[in-house]
Each structure stands twice: as structure tokens, then as C-alpha cells.
């Protein structure tokens, strides 16, 4: 890892952790949504550092361009009742720790297990491996997932459909 990669990695890591903490701690929910978009952007930067350009692009396209916007959409239509802020988040420290600590340890172990694995490959080389794995090696699970999503979408439409006429 050269100096530049290290510097970028540091900046992106600070961005991810800082914005991630901000999402939970921010006082207003719109701020949280925007910080979440910022976190996604930083994660996309991480993918770029790993040479996974395609994944980085999809990360931004789907998470920043679509999902954050939909969340903002939802947030804006939800009436924001002024409430004492600490009511919800700050009384659950024990339960939070109970769930977060084991998950954190597990994630760290998994991450370190990959420590000696090479990155995806040469720069920009992730398009072909990605395509082959999704459309050839794992075509069946991929199709099953798409059918599942389609069913979910149809179900959602049926649920919210007004029965006029």
C-alpha cells in the first residue's frame, strides 16, 4: 500500500465511521439521512480503492441515487413531532451493547480472516468477474432473488392499491 492509498483509506475510514456515528447520534432525521448518503459515498470510495469500480458505481447509483432519496421521501412525509430526543435512543445502552459487541467481534474476525487475500484483481478488472459470478456461477440464486423481489413488489402494490370503482 503506497502513501496515497493509505491516506485515502484513512480519510474514507474516518468518513465512514464519523458519518455512521452521526447517523445514529444526529438530532434530526433528515440530517441522518444525508449523513447516510455520505457514508455510502465513502463506502463506494473504499470499493474504488480495492479496484472494484463496478461495485463502487452500483453502490452510488443504487444507495445514494435511489435508496437515500426514497428514505428522504418517506421522512419528509412523516409528521415530525417535537419530542424529547433522549426518549428513544439513550435508554437502551445495555441492550445496544449486548447486540453490538458480539456482532462487532464477529465482523472483525471475518475481516481479519481475509487479511492475506488479494484484492479483486488488477485495476478495473471487476466487471468480468462480477458478471460471470452473477449471471453464470450463481445464476440460479440470482434469479430466485429477483423473483422474490418481484413478488414483494407486486404484494406491496396490491396492499396499497385503492379500490376505487
Amino acid at each position: 500500500m503506497g502513501f496515497l492509498e493509505g491516506a485515502f483509506f484513512a480519510v474514507l475510514t474516518i468518513g465512514i465511521i464519523g458519518a455512521g456515528a452521526g447517523v445514529v447520534l444526529a438530532n434530526r432525521i433528515t440530517t441522518s439521512a444525508l449523513l447516510m448518503a455520505f457514508t455510502f459515498l465513502n463506502v463506494a470510495g473504499m470499493f474504488l480503492l480495492l479496484g472494484a469500480e463496478t461495485v463502487a458505481m452500483f453502490q452510488v447509483l443504487i444507495y445514494v441515487g435511489a435508496i437515500t432519496v426514497l428514505i428522504l421521501y418517506g421522512v419528509m412525509f412523516t409528521p415530525q413531532v417535537p419530542r424529547p430526543y433522549g426518549l428513544f435512543f439513550q435508554t437502551q445502552k445495555f441492550w445496544a451493547a449486548l447486540f453490538v459487541v458480539p456482532i462487532a467481534i464477529f465482523v472483525a474476525l471475518v475481516a481479519f480472516a481475509f487479511r492475506d487475500t488479494a484484492a479483486v484483481g488488477a485495476k478495473g478488472g471487476d466487471l468480468l468477474p462480477l458478471a460471470t459470478s452473477v449471471f453464470r456461477d450463481f445464476a440460479f440464486p440470482f434469479e430466485v432473488a429477483s423473483v422474490l423481489l418481484l413478488a414483494a413488489m407486486v404484494g406491496a402494490i396490491v396492499l396499497v392499491k385503492r379500490d376505487d370503482e
Binding site: 452500483f58 452510488v60 441515487g65 419528509m76 478488472g125
Partner: protein, 375 residues
């Protein structure tokens, strides 16, 4: 000591190149916007039988410069009840992705910021980030009209992304690469992709109109119904940045059209003088910019339900069919593109013939229903 281009040390050259590229792109965007605003006013004036700007400079050429200076000098006003940081950040969120798009556009052989392997995906990605800025602008303005404008924009942009990307994928299937330079190289001479995939071009162009919020899809900033939508509370340079972004987006979409369907910088004598490619590319791009303006002066604005039904009931099925047909034909005839071209032209013909027919049937049914309801 290693020597880079022009005999400059690469350590100095890399940042210098970045600075030069940034200055070029900023200059390109600003001057392009000035030229386009002038063109837009003149073309609309010609179409509407008026004269347009006339008095400032020869043929009113300096009018947009005067306007720009006025905008720069205006006070930066922020209404008290707007959401400070979101309000101030929104123009930048809209502007910067547009600026970044210019990195991958191939202006001439060898003149490109970066030949990204996923160039086309990069462009669509940046295009999708605009919507975030517009939604935030609409929300932060704390104004019902602005909010409606922002939400319309979100719905519109997310919907039209689907046919847009499907049209692009059709081209990628035929060309076999996502790199803008690769796509440009694949169309030597007169073998432009337009001849093979006219339908994909038409659907992309319609979706591009919607993605750039241009008429007839300019609902987010509809002046007559939403008092300019998400722009209502903006004034001065912040307002101007939104418009710079819009004109920049128009240029980007036109450049994509030029690169993907009309042979990018290919043209007479490019082999002899590669720099001539810039001229051909600019001419082709501005031709499509003019078409954008022509459409704006010709067509009335759609209603939101018409906009959505055009996208979900017409464009998405059509582009999906097109993608399926192209993919199957490419698998069956891997060596020739003629069947793909024939299928595409047939589909385009069917689209042009069938659309008015279905529209008329829908109208008749609607009138019938209204009549029975009234009776």
C-alpha cells in the same frame, strides 16, 4: 529523472494535469452555459416569431454576459425559515456530479480525462446523484411549492432512470464495452450505432429529456403551476448554479448521445488531424443541444400522471422488449448486426405508429367514462 509529457517531471505533471483539466472543464461548463442561454433565447424567439435579445452587443450577444455579471453581483438571500445548511449545500450537490461527468467524455482521439473501464456506468451514476440535491433543495426551502417540486423531481428522475439505463445497456450489448473511448472507437466512418439501434436512441433521448428536467418534462420547476418548484426560494448565484447544472447536464446527455449513437469524434479528416475530432464532437453535441431547445419551444408540459404513465406503461416495456430482442438476436447471429438493425427499425416504426393510436383509444375511453359519469 523520469520525464513525462512536455519534458515535465511526472511528479509535477500529475497535479498540473489535474489543475489544467479542472480549469478546462469549469471554463467549458460556464462558457457552454452562456452560449446555450443565448442560443435558447434566440431559438425560442425565432420559433415564436420574436426577435430575442438584441441590444446588448452585436445581435444581443453580450446579453448573457450582462446577466451573468448581474447574477454574480446579487445579494445572497436566504429566507429565515429555510433549513440553513441543507439550503446552502443543495446547489453544490446538484452541480458537482455534473462537473465530474466530464472526466470520461471522449472529445477527440486521446483527449479524454480518464478512460474508465466503466465510463458509461459512471455517467449514469453521477446523473442519479442530481436528484438528491434537488430533493434537498425542495425540502430545505420550507415552502410547499418547492417541496412538491422536489418530490416530483425524485419520482420523475428515479422512474426515468430505468428506461435510460435499459437503452444504454442495449448499446453496451452491441458494442461490448462500457468504456466511452471503446464505444467511440467502435464506430469508425459512417458505421454509427444509430443505424443499428435507432429505437434505443429515441428512448434514451426521451429519458434524457426527463433526467435533465427539460421541457416537456420540466415539472419540478414548472413556472406556471409551482412558481418554479424547487427554485422558488433561491436567488442570485445559488439560483444560477442550478441553471449552470441544468445546462451542463444537457451538454452531458448530448455528449452521451453523440458518443453512443453518432460516432463521437469520428468525422472527415480526423485521421489526419486528430484535434479536428473536438470540432466534430462539439458540432454533433450542439446539434442535440439545439434539438433540446427546439423541443422546449414546441411541446407543452406534461401532467405528472401523463409523465409517469409514459415512463412505466410505454418506455419501460418498450426498452425491455428492445433489450430482449437485441440480446436474443445477438446470441443467434453473433457475427452480423443486420438482424438487430432490422428488428430495431421495425420496433421504432411500431412505436411511432402505435403511440398515437393507443393515445386516441385511451382518450375515447376517457371521454366515454366522463359522459356516463355526467349522465
Amino acid at each position: 529523472m523520469p520525464v513525462g509529457p512536455f519534458g515535465i517531471d511526472p511528479v509535477i505533471w500529475a497535479p498540473l494535469r489535474l489543475v489544467i483539466a479542472l480549469l478546462l472543464v469549469v471554463g467549458l461548463v460556464f462558457n457552454g452555459a452562456l452560449a446555450q442561454i443565448y442560443l435558447e433565447r434566440k431559438i425560442q424567439a425565432i420559433i415564436q416569431d420574436r426577435l430575442g435579445p438584441l441590444h446588448t452587443g452585436p445581435w444581443g450577444l453580450l446579453q448573457t454576459f450582462a446577466d451573468a455579471i448581474k447574477l454574480l453581483g446579487k445579494e445572497d438571500i436566504r429566507a429565515r425559515l429555510t433549513d440553513r445548511w441543507f439550503f446552502l449545500a443543495a446547489p453544490s450537490i446538484v452541480f458537482s456530479p455534473m462537473l465530474a461527468s466530464y472526466v470520461v467524455i471522449p472529445f477527440a482521439p486521446g483527449i479524454v480525462g480518464a478512460d474508465l473501464n466503466v465510463g458509461l456506468l459512471y455517467l449514469t451514476t453521477l446523473g442519479s446523484m442530481t436528484v438528491l440535491g434537488i430533493v434537498i433543495a425542495g425540502w430545505a426551502s420550507n415552502n410547499k411549492y418547492s417541496l412538491i417540486g422536489g418530490l416530483r423531481s425524485a419520482g420523475q428522475l428515479i422512474s426515468y432512470e430505468v428506461p435510460q439505463i435499459l437503452s444504454l445497456v442495449t448499446v453496451v450489448l452491441v458494442v461490448g464495452t462500457l468504456s466511452m473511448v471503446g464505444i467511440a472507437d467502435s464506430q469508425p466512418g459512417l458505421r454509427m450505432n444509430f443505424l443499428v439501434l435507432p429505437l434505443a436512441f429515441v428512448t434514451y433521448f426521451i429519458a434524457g429529456l426527463a433526467e435533465t428536467n427539460r421541457a416537456p418534462f420540466d415539472l419540478p420547476e414548472a413556472e406556471s403551476e409551482l412558481v418554479a418548484g424547487f427554485l422558488t426560494e433561491y436567488s442570485g448565484m445559488r439560483w444560477a448554479i442550478f441553471f449552470l447544472a441544468e445546462y451542463g447536464e444537457v451538454t452531458v446527455v448530448s455528449s452521451i448521445v453523440t458518443t453512443l449513437w453518432f460516432g463521437a469524434w469520428h468525422g472527415p479528416f480526423v485521421e489526419v488531424f486528430p484535434l479536428l475530432g473536438v470540432l466534430w464532437f462539439t458540432l454533433k453535441t450542439y446539434f442535440f443541444v439545439l434539438v433540446f431547445m427546439w423541443i422546449r419551444a414546441t411541446l407543452p408540459r406534461l401532467r405528472i400522471d401523463q409523465l409517469m404513465s409514459l415512463c412505466w406503461k410505454v418506455l419501460i416495456p418498450l426498452t425491455l422488449t428492445n433489450l430482449l430482442v437485441t440480446a436474443v438476436l445477438l446470441l443467434v447471429f453473433p457475427t452480423t448486426l443486420v438482424p438487430v438493425a432490422i428488428a430495431n427499425w421495425l420496433l421504432l416504426g411500431a412505436f411511432i405508429v402505435a403511440l398515437p393510436y393507443f393515445q386516441r383509444r385511451r382518450l375515447v375511453a376517457l371521454r366515454e367514462r366522463l359522459r356516463t359519469a355526467a349522465a
